[in-house]
Symmetry: C2
Subunit: 245 residues, 2 copies
DNA sequence: CAGTGGTCTAGACCACTAG
DNA sequence: TAGTGGTCTAGACCACTGA
């Protein structure tokens, strides 16, 4: 882009020859952040931007789409492109396998199944999943250890009809999450984070004084439009969950 | 796609006429989730997929790129495309303006500035930001209320050199976050979530019993590659942060 | 070094929606 | 209803990387 007719040395010399659409994205982003374009203001339409950058509309479109997905821009068919008023910025939250999260932190990951078996779905969980209470579900309580010290506690309720065979899953080699990944992958995931006091078996398993703060991550998952199960994941206080923009 | 030579009625009749690349994405995803393609296995190369779907490589590419960004696939130039072994699924975490988060929940949003002024950067914050302790920074402590009840406590440290004019910002009309959005937008954001006990002024401001669990969201932001500031956001226990896949 | 994905072009049709 | 973005095609060159 920006080159007239010669073969173009693919980008003078400078850095690492950013791909054109990335360069355009960076340019527009810098204009937004420098204040050239304030929140709510309109950008030129794609065709005009393409002309000014000396490339095709597709290339500009790629850059704008990316910025829109990141939450910086809002686009509408006839309304054009504008700087987002309320930047509901979209941060990315990594959701790794449980053992992997520990390994990444540089620890040895092991886990111990504390309890596993069928039981009627508790009312509180039923409400969260939109399932009738009392439904027979498979429950697993697993303690994950980092370097042999309690790291987090995994408490799952799984609908066996959507995960045929869970009851016989081998939980000695790896966590139930690995089994689920291979045998009953979810298609939708909803995550809620909150802080709760450690109580009863949670406090005991994590070796925390009762009432001490615990980070609770609730993950409700769906499979084929149906509620597959609920995961309650308790982190000892202070273990952070990371996201980035 | 999948149409031979006739003009094509743009997609039989069924639903809402999904765009071709979306249809392809859905098809591949369903094949992954039905177990046709297990974790680690290879997908056909783009050209072959394009042929089998009866469309161009670009269209297939669009679908595969999207799945790769979502964490379902891993792609390499000569290595081809394969089902992700460890699906570090990427969930989206909404990061709205503070007042907006309250409004969305259907409450009236107001805020009260408890403290604002210059002070030396505390050591703990300095470490988190990679800045020398003692650096003069602007500190703001704001209580956000939902229907006049304490909802969350916002504690900010801002480097005034990267946000010229903060010291004189009008904090009566709207929160400091709105001011920052217009005057010193960040370019990078790192979020960490943890559970902490409510202590001192945090407990007092949120009207919580001391030591009760609090959800702490730390947001470190950068501007032009430099640390702009740190936000410590305390939610009363139980207020959830939502993400989705 | 050869194969695969990454990206760009030039052009086209279409869907949504603001005015 | 007209203007804008959303998407597709057909083809091309190039960058990265596995064998």
């Amino acid at each position: 882009m920006t080159t007239p007719d010669k073969p173009a040395p693919k980008r003078a010399a400078g850095r690492k020859a950013l791909a054109p659409w990335r360069a355009i994205r960076a340019d527009i982003l810098s204009r937004i952040q420098s204040g050239d374009w304030g929140p709510g203001s309109h950008l030129p339409k794609e065709v005009d931007l393409a002309a000014s950058y000396g490339c095709t509309r597709s290339t500009v479109s790629r850059a704008l789409r990316d910025l829109a997905e990141a939450g910086f821009l809002e686009r509408r068919r006839k309304g054009g492109t504008r700087i987002a008023e309320n930047p509901v910025r979209k941060a990315r939250l990594d959701v790794p396998l449980l053992a992997e999260a520990i390994l990444r932190a540089g620890h040895t990951a092991t886990c111990r199944t504390l309890r596993a078996g069928m039981r009627p779905l508790p009312a509180a969980v039923a409400r969260r999943l939109g399932r009738p209470a009392g439904l027979p579900v498979f429950e697993v309580l697993t303690l994950h250890l980092a370097d042999d010290r309690p790291h987090f506690l995994e408490h799952r309720y799984i609908d066996p009809r959507l995960a045929p065979g869970v009851e016989g899953a081998d939980l000695t080699a790896s966590g139930i999450d690995v089994w689920l990944l291979h045998n009953a992958p979810f298609s939708r995931l909803e995550i809620a984070l909150s802080a709760v006091p450690a109580r009863g078996e949670v406090a005991e398993a994590l070796n925390l004084p009762p009432q001490s703060p615990c980070l609770l991550m609730e993950r409700a998952s769906w499979r084929r439009e149906q509620p597959l199960g609920l995961l309650l994941l308790y982190h000892a206080a202070g273990v952070p969950v990371l996201a980035h923009l």
